[in-house]
Symmetry: C2
Subunit: 133 residues, 2 copies
DNA sequence: CAGAATCCCGTTGGATACTG
DNA sequence: CAGTATCCAACGGGATTCTG
């Protein structure tokens, strides 16, 4: 099974070194805690206001919220719509690009969920092996 | 299309708040630059020595290499085999768990590769919109 | 309400030197 | 070769305050 998987994986990426660097940069940019959380929230609720995101994310500072949203906007993952009213109202929603990323990350999410116990078991085993030495 | 995708995504995760936290922690642990790179390298070449990984990763310090490999070992993603010879020889290889993660991450990798130009275009557009204001 | 600005601290992570 | 240990700079990111 492992060999099948390996072969399947190896045949997929064309592996262009120049492209790789950019891809790595994009992944580094996109694969952080808050970006993932925001994508999840915006997948569950299509359109969100700033304060809704702040509440849904629980634990995020508004500095990081603003910062992360700006970066996502910059990368074309979300759209930001400002309504010129008082008090201000700003709506965020995923673009198709962002939705595509959500779908791609879904695999990782499911993997983490499916293998959570296996990881915890591995950690316990590792810890046990350590203190015996 | 966007709605199809959204519906597909929403129906997938059971969304247990307690489990979610652990999953987030796992993703935070696992979704960093070096872990992803090492997984890629170990997918392409099944078994690697420490120095091979150091060369393949290009840019990683041996501190981060050691640290990342230990964390991956702890989480059961790689096995570490020490051969009691001089000079020392240590081999690393992905476990089935690690291979599964590789597969899951593959989707993100492909997405980044496929949408690289779209992201660069979005960045250019954002920059243009900025300096006009 | 949605942010911008400032201050500040902890952690990350690189460079270097040493060891079995 | 495959690390460990130490030092130090940079950055991430939280708390707080202020504004349109």
């Amino acid at each position: 099974m492992a060999d099948d998987l390996r072969h399947q994986l190896m045949t997929l990426p064309p592996s262009d070194p120049a492209v790789d660097r950019l891809v790595e940069e994009i992944i580094g940019r996109v694969a952080d805690k808050w970006t993932m959380l925001l994508i999840e929230v915006l997948t569950e609720q299509e359109v969100c206001r700033f304060s809704e995101l702040a509440r849904a994310c629980e634990g995020i500072s508004q500095k990081m919220l603003t910062q992360t949203l700006r970066a996502m906007e910059r990368d074309g993952l979300v759209t930001r719509t400002v309504y010129p009213v008082v008090p201000p109202k700003v709506e965020y929603r995923l673009t198709d690009l962002g939705l595509g990323l959500a779908k791609a990350f879904c695999g990782v999410w499911l993997w983490a969920e499916a293998n959570r116990e296996a990881i915890e078991a591995a950690r316990a085993a590792y810890a046990a092996a350590q203190e015996e030495a």
